[in-house]
């Protein structure tokens, strides 16, 4: 990533798991959606900001060995789809974890971590990752 603006406009989601909730049907969405795929026109103008719970459990996971350049310092590293306490499935990295200790159902919580940086002089990108619940 290199666009500062592109990263900046997603800070609420990336820092604070801010998604949306449809005021019509109550469905929760993360990442945010401006349009409820279920209610469509009935939901227009009724999408509200919604902060997704920061705690949840591992729904599925993998340990990545073939890492993208931004994570060459972390490989091998774990990723997961996490089901939050309010039932939202979110994909993210799993940090500070002993790789052979991960299991489906493991309790985790979202923290803020560095995701990437645009070289030594560019901006640092921060966003959520999950860590084992203390």
């Amino acid at each position: 990533m290199s666009s500062v603006a592109r990263a900046w406009r997603e800070f609420p989601g990336k820092y604070n798991l801010e998604g949306t909730k449809c005021g019509n049907c109550g469905m929760i969405f993360f990442p945010r959606r401006d349009f409820c795929p279920k209610c469509r026109r009935e939901g227009v103008g009724k999408m509200e900001k919604y902060k997704v719970q920061r705690e949840g459990e591992v729904f599925s996971f993998s340990v990545i060995h073939d890492a993208p350049a931004c994570n060459s310092f972390l490989r091998p590293y774990a990723v997961a789809i996490v089901r939050t306490l309010d039932g939202v499935l979110i994909g993210g990295q799993l940090a500070d974890v002993e790789l052979d200790s991960i299991s489906i159902g493991m309790p985790v919580r979202a923290v803020l971590r560095k995701l990437d940086e645009d070289g030594a002089a560019g901006i640092i990108h921060y966003g959520f990752k999950f860590v084992p619940k203390i």
Partner: protein, 389 residues
């Protein structure tokens, strides 16, 4: 709507084609297909090309114009359109071309697929592949495409619908057939242990669970069914083209062990063709990652959930062994996976099977053949059915 026929197919060898450029492989495949259809090329009145990412692989946009130009078709000023749908680019391009003929707007249509991947380094190639997932919320969060499929595999194993060995046997099946295909990237059978012991890419998936990086191109020529015999005796009928969509990000779905887009597209395709899954005797499925083969056989209705893995492991998906032969070309895993070309290469393989020209990998008496092409983690799926004449 007119019925549509495939009257010619062509493909380059798949592999690391260091001495070949994008335009050179694209033209080779197209020329072969036109030759196979006994045409001069001047009959072609519309061109489609499936290509995922020439913009990032070779820094060339507007490849529809490039191919029209270098194939000589720009001299006739025919329309040329590039189609992109991630890994399903070729399959979706085929669907567009079939509809162009079926609608009566165009008569003789060339649809190609091409990808030149090896001009980019491996890490960058993976980054391009990862961009077929959600760039902001999957790739941008450090998830790779391989890891998304790995999480599908983890879930499949956890839910008990396939074992690790069964998942790995998808690659064994593809390599078995790849050994029989002179155009394949890998022409070598592999034992199950090779897959299981291959270096980890994204656990539980290893190197041999993943389709390779490949250069290659394929093309087919279409015309109205009732005009096919004017050109050739060796043609097949396109019985159905269908396409389905799903969420861009895998985590937006409640169940990640099935691709809803495959289920929807195949249902529609069977209805269009007036057949059921049990009528299909040969299929090319999108095994970019081994586990995708398990999902495909179940979602296409060939096997019930929990049965696809057993079929692969027992070897009954091999040519001549069971009710349906899967990936006789070698699939994406062994034939190679030049992304935008794969969907068209699948159509070419099914056409050869239904014309009885698949040589050592020929499925005897094949009447119906199916091709499934997948973009991202099942966010776009095309399903096409061909029928022998």
């Amino acid at each position: 709507m007119r019925e549509v026929a495939i009257i010619g197919v062509g493909a380059t060898k798949f592999g690391e084609l260091w001495d070949r450029s994008f335009r050179s492989i694209g033209i080779e495949a197209g020329t072969k297909a036109i030759e196979d259809a006994n045409l001069s090329g001047n009959e072609i009145d519309c061109l489609f090309i499936g290509n995922m990412s020439a913009g990032r692989f070779i820094n060339q946009q507007h490849i529809n114009a490039l191919i029209a130009d270098y194939s000589g078709m720009a001299t006739n000023n025919i329309p040329a359109t590039r189609v992109e749908a991630g890994g399903a680019s070729g399959g979706v391009a085929f669907g567009q071309a079939v509809m162009a003929v079926a609608s009566g707007v165009y008569d003789t249509v060339l649809v190609g697929g091409a990808e030149k991947m090896t001009d980019l380094d491996d890490t960058s190639i993976n980054t391009v592949m990862d961009a077929t997932a959600d760039a902001d919320w999957e790739a941008g969060m450090g998830l790779t495409l391989a890891s998304l499929y790995a999480m599908i595999a983890r879930r499949v194993i956890y839910e008990g619908t396939a074992t690790r060995e069964e998942i790995a046997s998808v690659a064994v099946n593809s390599h078995f057939h790849g050994a029989l295909n002179p155009g394949a990237q890998f022409r070598k059978e592999i034992p199950l242990e090779t897959v299981l012991r291959s270096g980890p890419v994204a656990e539980p998936l290893g190197m041999f669970d993943c389709a390779p990086i490949t250069d290659g191109a394929a093309a087919v020529v279409l015309c109205p069914l009732d005009e096919a015999r004017k050109h050739t005796d060796n043609y097949v009928k396109v019985s159905a083209v269908a396409q389905g969509s799903d969420t861009l990000a895998l985590s937006q779905r409640r169940d990640i062990t099935t691709f809803g887009a495959t289920v929807a597209a195949s249902k529609k395709a069977y209805k269009m063709a007036g057949i059921t899954a049990s009528d299909i005797s040969v299929a090319e499925i999108h095994d970019d990652f081994s586990v995708a083969g398990i999902l495909a056989l179940q979602d296409l209705g060939f096997y019930r959930k929990g049965e696809a893995g057993k079929a692969f492991l027992s070897g009954e998906t091999r040519v001549g062994a069971g009710k349906i032969a899967i990936n006789t070309s070698g699939g994406l895993k062994a034939r190679g996976y030049p992304i935008g070309a794969s969907g068209i290469a699948q159509i070419a393989e099914i056409t050869e099977q239904l014309r009885g020209r698949a040589d050592k990998r020929q499925v005897a008496g094949a009447k119906y053949g199916l091709a499934q092409s997948v973009g991202g983690t099942g966010s776009a799926v095309s399903v096409s059915i061909m029928e022998a004449i």
